[in-house]
């Protein structure tokens, strides 16, 4: 092999076309435009049917985050994320006689954080939604989603319904990790917002249908660097589907999903505008019995206590928070288990975000729970394409 045979690393090559940029601008068009369905207040929910994909929306995702502990000697503590996105460019598949006719793109994000060693691995796969590469099943077909893995890796990432919960499979040979997990819902579905309508702004379509399953018992195997690690733990699933949710002024959001040791589940999110102010703020608190209290903006406050700057992207994220919900008697400090949990895709100029395992501490500094925090839109020109 001669030296000229090897491909030189590309630095600063031309911006990637299509997917992200396309989505960004396409999605940034007026909400509800182009024939897509929009989120409505009177959506008729039906489970488990609504766990499957919904035709006609611009964006849809299945978002799993959780904590896994291994049972082997030298126990490991892992955090994980598994997400499948469906991004529509056209409201419906065009009627061409071709297996490549498509309405959009499917995407998968997976991450494993080794909490003991402070190592974070992230993988992304983006595939044109064609039967060959990515497909979304119809109820009651157990396969909800399948997306061909990232380049260089055999096989597809899958999301299946196993009757009680979801089975997840993701793999990236280049990042050298695999996850194969089976989950069982322990709590019922929580509709986030009135009838599951999550308002993001004033425009008619600036909302999503949003629900969560806050606790899922999780069991399975994680393979890191070739070593199989049997794991067990707990995860949280978020589901959203809608069209054109963010407005011009909104640049990103901060999202918290916390499982408190006292049995309560807390979900909070704040959409930030260009000035850094949180405009739309919503949340929910689930009590151990299952009762759901929807939190208004005035019910809670979040204050960042420190920051962290990424050496990879240069973005500065808030890195420690104080959350207060007086009416529930909650004064919590949320601390990232380690800083470097930023999800940066291999393709240059793809949007990046911070999604990491956090520990919840009470006012005295004692452990109060675990959770995941997602921070999007930080850094230069990093607006999420929703």
């Amino acid at each position: 092999m001669t030296t000229c045979d090897r491909i030189p690393p590309r630095r600063g090559s031309r911006a990637r076309r299509a997917t992200w940029i396309a989505l960004g601008l396409v999605a940034g068009a007026a909400a509800g435009a182009g024939g897509f369905r929009i989120a409505v207040p009177d959506y008729a929910w039906s489970f488990p049917r609504d766990h499957w994909a919904h035709e006609g929306y611009r964006t849809e995702w299945w978002y799993f985050t959780g904590h896994l502990d291994s049972k082997e000697p030298g126990a490991r503590s892992l955090g994980f994320q598994f997400t499948i996105f469906r991004i529509g460019i056209l409201p419906a598949r065009p009627p061409f006689r071709s297996e490549w006719a498509t309405s959009g793109v499917a995407m998968g994000h997976a991450a494993v954080s080794d909490l003991d060693r402070g190592e974070h691995r992230f993988s992304e796969t983006v595939r044109r939604e064609v039967p060959l590469l990515a497909s979304f099943g119809l109820h009651p077909d157990p396969e909800i989603a399948r997306v061909q893995g990232p380049a260089g890796t055999d096989g597809a990432w899958t999301l299946r319904w196993n009757g009680d919960g979801f089975d997840l499979e993701a793999r990236d040979d280049a990042e050298r990790f695999r996850m194969s997990l089976s989950t069982r819902a322990e709590r019922p579905v929580v509709l986030q917002g009135p009838n599951g309508l999550s308002r993001k702004g004033d425009a008619p379509g600036a909302a999503s249908q949003y629900y969560s399953v806050t606790r899922l018992a999780t069991r399975g195997t994680v393979v890191l660097d070739g070593r199989e690690i049997p794991v067990a733990g707990e995860s949280w699933m978020d589901r959203e589907f809608g069209s054109s949710e963010l407005s011009e002024e909104q640049v990103g959001w901060d999202w918290f999903a916390l499982r408190l040791d006292d049995g309560r589940d807390l979900m909070l999110y704040a959409l930030r505008d260009r000035g850094g102010e949180a405009g739309v703020r919503n949340g929910s608190l689930v009590r151990p019995g299952g009762e759901v209290r929807l939190l208004e903006a005035s019910d809670w406050s979040v204050r960042p206590l420190s920051t962290w700057t990424s050496g990879v992207t240069g973005a500065t994220y808030p890195a420690k928070w104080r959350i207060e919900i007086p009416s529930e008697g909650l004064a919590l400090v949320v601390v990232p288990d380690f800083s470097e949990q930023e999800n940066v895709a291999r393709t240059p100029r793809a949007p990046f975000y911070w999604e990491g395992s956090v520990s919840v501490l009470d006012g005295a500094g004692g452990r109060a729970g675990r959770g995941y925090v997602e921070l999007t839109g930080y850094g230069e020109r990093n607006r999420p394409p929703v």
Binding site: V26, I89, R97, W100, A101, T102, L132
Partner: protein, 841 residues
């Protein structure tokens, strides 16, 4: 020294204006020959490469199939391979633009969502339209301008029997990416392209981008193993050299021709330099006697010649470019008709070609001048002031040179008969040795023939005889003429023989009355499929006695790409379609029709070394297989090899449904024109192309003639150079023989008589050149027909001798020689008797 040089320069240029002009022209023509051919050769693949880059952009590897289409599952396979960063499918085929003008477009379907950078950007707002708006196509700005299209306009194209309506969705300047990219590129999203072309489930290629640090060779190998024997994994360089391989024979022949022209030009330069230098013997002798060293004299001479070379090169470059431009049409036509490549869009002048031209001009000038310059600078002072004895030396060396020439020729012949035969370019080596032997024999020939001539009287014959005297001067001109004539004769005979052979073959095999195909077939070939409804209607037309149904495709036999045809081999009355040179025809037809065997074309038989009884390897979608060969047929249509199977065998083995051509044989008395009209009447909208027997024959011969158009240009140039050599040589002779001419004048010769003598010398040179060149040309023709053709193309060409055409060319040459002699003859006749000097005559 510089001052001497510069002053001398001005004086010489003033005094010898004509000589200077002629010399510069000589260099210019040599440079122009080489340059024009190299430009054409270099540009030939420009559009192909440009098209590759415009569509495949960042691809490090391309996966093609040894079968026409590859399963789109290969995309997933490819992207799963370690080291691959991205893989995306491409569909590509030529289509015919509806409407007059015979315009073909290059339609490409790509995955607009692939995470790679294409050399053109689909603006984000357009992605949805590219995916969903029916007929959305990205079109080159130039094409849109030509056709008067704006974004939103629709246009129709046809592929086979399919008609597709496209809409201009985006204007792209492909040339920004790839300067030689053709403007015929039309890009669609792959879903739309598959839908339009009816290619569901299949793509033509999969492009692959590798991760940083991955090795092309290694990943390529793994991909090939993963995908199986039907896959070819190629780098962009390999793709280019595949296409270059298609053209290699064509380009090599062009280059060889240009080199012959160059050779002739070099001779001219030599004569030129002699012309310039011979005048200055006295001056140089004076310089030497004043103490100028040999090296300094040589330096002056070489500097002058270099200056000449520069002027000639500067003139030759635009002439060469113009000559290339004048032939672009013809070459493009050959590229598209024969090689199915896109024609030359624009002529590229790469720096290296320019550098080559300069090297040729300067180098040729200096090399040609070296001998006389060395001669003059080497001579001792006294001898310089005394007579020029180069002629004596050439005269003395003549027999040895002739023997050497014969020896080289004979030696090369022996080498070829033994070892050389296996080496492809061996034929060119033999031709080269011939072209060396010819000039080597010239001095001896001149001396002998002219010496034997009995010249009584002071006229034309006297002039011819005088050619044998100043051998140092006349040999070169006659040699150059000999080579030019040899080239002319050789190529005329070869082309004539080829054409005649082709005519005979056409007569035997082109027997159907009406040939039906689709409009896009000319360029698309295997993807241009006829609508089955049309086919069945054709077969049932009243007046049609029988029909030969054909499906043409490309296949791989081992590593060799060949044309594969499935047809109704057993069609009754159709034996004439095959002229076999090996195998029993009736038996072969029976076996092939039964699906048990295949027939192969002569070029394939020769190149692959296969014959009746051997097995032909083929790669089908299901894998590799072998089929026995029952016959070898003459085939002038496919340079790279062809094979014939029965139509049903082709369909079952290769899974190809549909026909590309239907040849109709009519009842006696039925009129082809009437049938064609009725077909058009029944299918007014179908993009069909109908040819009568007569028209097809004409077309084949037209394409043939067009292919050889360039050779005519080169022949013309060579002759021009050679004839200019006559003028120059006579001028030199006039100068060298000043005393002799003065003597004639002193003895009372009238100007007219001297004019006649010089005319005789000029025509004599042409005549001797013909005498030398005709046998040389005959030999060259046989070398081209038997050796070169066999090695590169594998065709049987029956030599035929177009005596009338050759006689005409000889007459033209003699007339041109007479015209070329006129000016020098007039100059010579003006020599006053007072020029009688002390020199020996």
């Amino acid at each position: 020294m510089i001052r001497v040089f510069l002053r001398g320069l001005a004086a010489h240029f003033r005094a010898g204006r004509t000589l200077l002009i002629l010399s510069v022209l000589g260099v210019a023509l040599g440079v122009a020959s080489v340059l024009s051919v190299q430009i054409l050769n270099g540009s030939a693949l420009g559009a192909f490469e440009g098209g590759l880059r415009a569509v495949s952009g960042e691809a490090d590897l391309t996966i093609l199939g040894k079968v026409p289409t590859v399963p789109d599952a290969w995309v997933r396979e490819a992207m799963s391979e370690r080291g691959v960063a991205a893989a995306w499918p491409v569909v590509r085929t030529p289509v015919k633009l509806e409407g007059p003008g015979g315009v073909f477009l290059d339609l490409a379907g790509v995955d607009v969502l692939a995470p790679v950078w294409f050399p053109w950007d689909v603006p984000p707002g357009e992605v949805a339209a590219a995916l969903g708006a029916p007929g959305w196509a990205a079109v080159s700005e130039k094409l849109a301008r030509e056709r008067g299209w704006a974004v939103g306009d629709v246009f129709d194209v046809s592929s086979g029997s399919r008609r597709v309506r496209l809409r201009v969705g985006l204007l792209v300047d492909f040339r920004k990416v790839s300067p030689l990219a053709g403007d015929r590129l039309v890009v669609l999203d792959i879903a739309q392209a598959q839908d339009a072309l009816g290619l569901e489930g299949a793509v033509h290629q999969v492009d692959v981008k590798l991760s940083p640090g991955a090795s092309r060779a290694e990943v390529g190998e793994r991909l090939a193993r993963r995908l199986g024997p039907a896959a070819q994994v190629l780098t962009p360089e390999q793709r280019r050299s595949q296409a270059a391989g298609l053209l290699s024979a064509f380009r090599l022949n062009l280059t060889a021709l240009s080199l012959i022209s160059l050779l002739v030009g070099a001779f001219l330069v030599h004569t030129t330099t002699q012309a310039a230098l011979v005048r200055r013997r006295a001056e140089l002798g004076l310089l030497r006697s004043l103490g100028t060293t040999r090296r300094q004299v040589l330096a002056i001479l070489v500097a002058e010649v270099a200056l000449l070379g520069v002027l000639g090169t500067l003139l030759g470059i635009p002439i060469g470019y113009w000559a290339a431009a004048a032939n672009v049409e013809a070459v493009s036509a050959t590229l598209s008709n024969l090689y199915l490549l896109e024609g030359i869009g624009s002529l590229g002048l790469e720096p290296w070609v320019l550098a080559l031209a300069v090297a040729v001009g300067l180098g040729g000038a200096v090399a040609g001048a070296l001998l006389p310059a060395l001669e003059l600078s080497r001579r001792d002072t006294r001898a310089l002031l005394a007579p020029f004895s180069l002629h004596e030396r050439v005269g003395k060396a003549a027999p040895r040179l002739a023997v050497a020439g014969c020896a080289i020729l004979a030696g090369t012949g022996v080498w070829y008969a033994g070892l050389g035969r296996g080496w492809r370019p061996a034929g060119f080596v033999v031709a080269l040795s011939l072209l060396i032997a010819l000039p080597a024999m010239t001095p001896w020939l001149l001396r002998t023939l002219c010496g034997r001539l009995r010249a009584r009287g002071f006229g034309l014959a006297y002039g011819v005889k005088a050619l044998g005297v100043k051998l140092g001067t006349t040999s070169f001109a006659v040699a150059a003429l000999g080579i030019a004539v040899a080239m002319l004769v050789g190529i005329t005979v070869m082309v004539g023989s080829f054409r005649r052979t082709l005519e005979v073959w056409i007569d035997a095999t082109i027997r159907a009355d009406v040939y039906v195909t689709t409009e896009s077939w000319r360029r698309a070939r295997e993807t241009a499929v006829l609508d089955p409804a049309v086919v069945s209607a054709l077969l049932r037309l009243p007046g049609v006695r029988s029909a030969d149904r054909l499906r043409r495709t490309r296949a791989f036999s081992g590593e060799r790409r060949i044309a594969l045809v499935g047809r109704d081999v057993g069609m009754p009355g159709g034996e004439g379609r095959f002229v076999l040179i090996e195998g029993d025809r009736a038996d072969a037809i029976r076996r092939v029709a039964a699906g048990e065997a295949a027939m192969i074309g002569e070029p394939l038989a020769r190149k692959a070394g296969l014959g009746v009884g051997d097995r032909l390897p083929l790669t089908a979608p299901g894998g590799n297989f072998e089929i026995p060969i029952a016959g070898v047929y003459l085939d002038y249509a496919e340079e790279h090899g062809s094979a014939v199977l029965d139509l049903s065998a082709l369909e079952s083995r290769f899974g190809l449904a549909g026909l590309t051509n239907v040849d109709l044989y009519l009842e006696p008395g039925a009129s082809p024109e009437r049938i064609m009209d009725s077909i058009r009447g029944r299918f007014p909208d179908a993009p069909l192309e109908l040819l009568s027997n007569r028209r097809l024959r004409e077309e084949i011969l037209e394409i043939f003639d067009q292919t050889f158009a360039v050779t005519r240009l080169l022949q013309g140039m060579a002759l021009l150079i050679a004839v200019a050599g006559i003028t120059l040589t006579l001028l030199v002779l006039a100068r060298e023989r000043v005393s002799e001419l003065a003597l004639y004048r002193a003895l009372g010769a009238s100007r007219r008589r001297i004019l006649r003598v010089f005319l005789g010398e000029g025509v004599g040179m042409a005549g001797l050149g013909i005498l030398l060149g005709v046998p040389g040309g005959v030999a060259l023709a046989m070398i081209l027909i038997r050796l070169v053709n066999r090695a590169y193309f594998g065709w049987t060409i029956v030599p035929s001798w177009p005596v009338a055409a050759l006689a005409r060319q000889a007459a033209v040459l003699l007339a041109a020689a007479a015209a070329a002699s006129l000016y020098p003859a007039i100059r010579a006749s003006r020599t006053p008797a007072t020029e009688l000097r002390r020199d020996d005559l």
